[in-house]
């Protein structure tokens, strides 16, 4: 049996009414594939994985896969995930969000989750647009681009998600694209295996909403753009900032170690119990 058939058989939900909700050619499906391959490589049991999502096209990923799955409210996925992980730290909790989901309505939750360093994995599908609601501009829509709520072109500056994650204190931050599939698999795998808050930003394409409004061509054209504009972290180090304008820096931006929330909380429990016994004694 070819590898892909095995993965499909093992991880997709066969009692779910397919077809899926995504437009043909959407990058979200590629990300689902990468996620499954990465999880398979970690060797984690399906029972021990919780896949949590917010609301958006990307938010529909969990329904198709055979894990413990939770489709939350717009922007709040990380808050639910926080509760799950703290209630049962044996579970491997992976959170999938869109750019609007994670950075606009959920921006506050995102920076605080990164700061707290709970052992979670956050995957952000950055398609530069609100896909599900029909192509409105998002916090990652670049200046000068068009959206259904920016028909006269976008006048806001964009957030750089990975850089935001680094600043907020995430211990692992990687950026990939749907074009660079192998890199994406390994970034997701590393983020899952990383102890602490790991972030993977995936540059994806929404050719139907964003692409059409900005005349960026087909899904294939948009993926070619990813190929042609990506530079690795190593290459970027040797480039001047003008040269990096409009480029996507891919690879691992941060991989460091900080105390994990759950480990610290175990110490809190010990201190709390010491207090208790000294009061009683």
């Amino acid at each position: 049996m070819p590898e892909i058939t095995k993965l499909i058989y093992k991880y997709l939900r066969h009692d779910k009414k397919f077809p899926h909700v995504w437009c043909p050619g959407c990058g979200t499906g590629i990300i689902l594939g990468a996620l499954i391959r990465a999880i398979d490589r970690t060797g984690y049991e399906k029972d021990d994985i919780v896949l949590v999502s917010g609301i958006g096209c990307s938010g529909r990923i969990p329904v198709y896969v055979d894990f413990n799955t939770l489709h939350t409210t717009h922007g709040r996925a990380l808050t639910f995930a926080t509760g799950i992980k703290l209630a049962n730290s044996n579970l491997n909790v992976i959170v999938i969000m869109g750019d609007g989901d994670a950075i606009a309505i959920g921006g506050n939750h995102f920076i605080h989750a990164a700061r707290r360093n709970i052992d979670l994995t956050a995957i952000i599908v950055n398609n530069n647009v609100y896909g599900m609601t029909g192509g409105q501009y998002s916090p990652t829509t670049p200046y000068g681009m068009r959206a259904t709520t920016a028909v006269y072109s976008n006048i806001e500056q964009e957030f750089k998600i990975s850089e935001l994650a680094v600043t907020a204190g995430a211990v692992f931050v990687g950026r990939g694209t749907v074009y660079h599939a192998k890199l994406l698999d390994s970034l997701i795998e590393r983020a899952i295996l990383k102890k602490g808050f790991g972030v993977v930003e995936v540059i994806s394409h929404c050719h139907i909403q964003y692409g059409k409004q900005n005349l960026l061509g087909s899904a294939v054209d948009m993926m070619k753009w990813q190929r042609d504009n990506a530079v690795t972290v190593q290459e970027a180090k040797r480039m001047k900032s003008e040269e990096l304008e409009g480029r996507i820096i891919i690879g691992v931006l941060v991989d460091k170690d900080l105390p994990i929330y759950q480990d610290e909380y175990d110490k809190v429990r010990e201190r709390a119990k010491e207090g208790l016994s000294s009061l009683e004694g």
Partner: protein
């Protein structure tokens, strides 16, 4: 031998809520500080780690509500507590808990609103928000303690009902009840009835997470149990997957309401005080019910036949209890620290049969026994 802990305490309402929650098995609290509910978070942060539970201070109340739902899905009884401004923020995810049928408890210690209002002044202004604050038609269980001991008891009850009916339960009390200190005797933990959600016993392949049952409540697996099911705030079919089919959405909505209706005898709690021969009935709850009780006792001494229906459960509204009261009493007095929220509901049930008087106060002061007594005199 270790001395048995004395069970008599001088305690605040907020503290009693925590004690009740811990006895009921609450092991996760997520919250954001807000007067007059902050003590609940503070005491939880001290006590939960002592019993291997978890306290976390989130970035806001939206996050707190999300976190307690997550913890509950992972099998840990959980709660948050807040006040007006934060109660507005929990509404979005409160609706999620109704839709996905996730047990959890939300405390709202009511302060004067709207907006920031007066953080330190009591109010009963959130009665309707507790019922209808989240969008869409949804069931609601809202309990309103009026003594410190009752804060303990209803905290336990809130968890029990939420577990049994798989629905969020709101503990709604005013600042007076939250901050008031009373000497109370608490039962030993082993004397308290604690109800846990029913978990599936069938093999995972057979598990249908949102299947209808005679009581309308399906067994609830928890994440990590081996059942690998899907939870969503979208309308879903009995397997938990999103559906657009009206013939699946309708029965689902019907079931989440029916499960509460079937539970009325247990959920709806009230106290009937001197109502047998009462011509005048007061309907009150929370701290105002304390003033009302005093007024009843004083008025009875003067020979006025007055009684009190104290609502312990605010929602689902105790229609049958009110109907019983108005069979005899043709004069009702509904005192509330709001512009008239429960009195509207009373009027709906009354349908003009008795005369409904309201006493409303929204200036930050409590309604006194004298104020109620004065009204009794006026109408008797």
């Amino acid at each position: 031998m270790k001395k048995r802990r004395p069970r008599e305490f001088l305690m605040q309402g907020n503290e009693a809520v925590v004690e009740g929650a811990l006895v009921a098995g609450c092991r996760f609290f997520a919250g954001y500080p807000i007067t007059p509910a902050t003590e609940i978070a503070e005491i939880m942060s001290v006590k939960l780690p002592q019993v291997d539970g978890t306290f976390i201070q989130m970035e806001d109340e939206i996050a707190s509500m999300g976190a307690i739902i997550g913890a509950s899905l992972a099998g840990t009884k959980s709660m948050t507590a807040t006040s007006g401004p934060g109660f507005s923020l929990v509404q979005e995810n409160l609706g999620f808990a109704c839709m996905a049928e996730v047990p959890c408890v939300v405390g709202d210690v009511m302060r004067l609103g709207p907006s920031t209002g007066i953080p330190t002044y009591p109010s009963q202004g959130d009665v309707m928000q507790a019922r209808w604050g989240t969008h869409g038609d949804h069931p609601a269980i809202v309990l309103a303690p009026s003594t410190v001991r009752e804060c303990f008891d209803l905290s336990v009850k809130a968890f029990n009902l939420s577990e049994k009916y798989r629905t969020p339960v709101i503990l709604l009390f005013d600042e007076v009840v939250g901050h008031m200190r009373e000497k109370i005797t608490l039962p030993r933990p082993e004397e308290v009835e604690v109800i846990d959600r029913i978990r599936p016993t069938v093999p995972p392949e057979w598990y249908i997470p949102y299947e209808d049952t005679t009581q309308g409540v399906s067994p609830m697996a928890i994440f990590g149990d081996g059942y690998r099911f899907h939870v969503t705030g979208l309308a879903h079919d009995i397997r938990g997957f999103p559906t657009l089919r009206s013939d699946e959405i309708g029965p689902f909505m019907d079931r989440i309401h029916r499960k509460i209706t079937l539970g009325f005898p247990e959920i709806q709690m009230g106290e009937f005080f001197q109502l047998e021969d009462a011509d005048i009935a007061i309907i009150a709850y929370g701290s105002v019910a304390r003033s009302a009780r005093r007024a009843v006792i004083d008025a009875r001494e003067k020979g006025v036949k007055v009684g009190l229906l104290r609502l312990i459960t605010l929602w689902p509204f105790m229609r049958t209890a009110v109907e019983r009261v108005i069979q005899k009493a043709k004069m009702l007095i509904v005192p509330e620290m709001n512009m008239g929220q429960i009195s509207r509901e009373v009027k709906r049930v009354n349908e003009g049969k008795a005369k409904v008087n309201t006493i409303n106060r929204v200036d930050g002061l409590t309604i006194t026994p004298q104020q109620i007594l004065k009204r009794i005199r006026e109408v008797s």
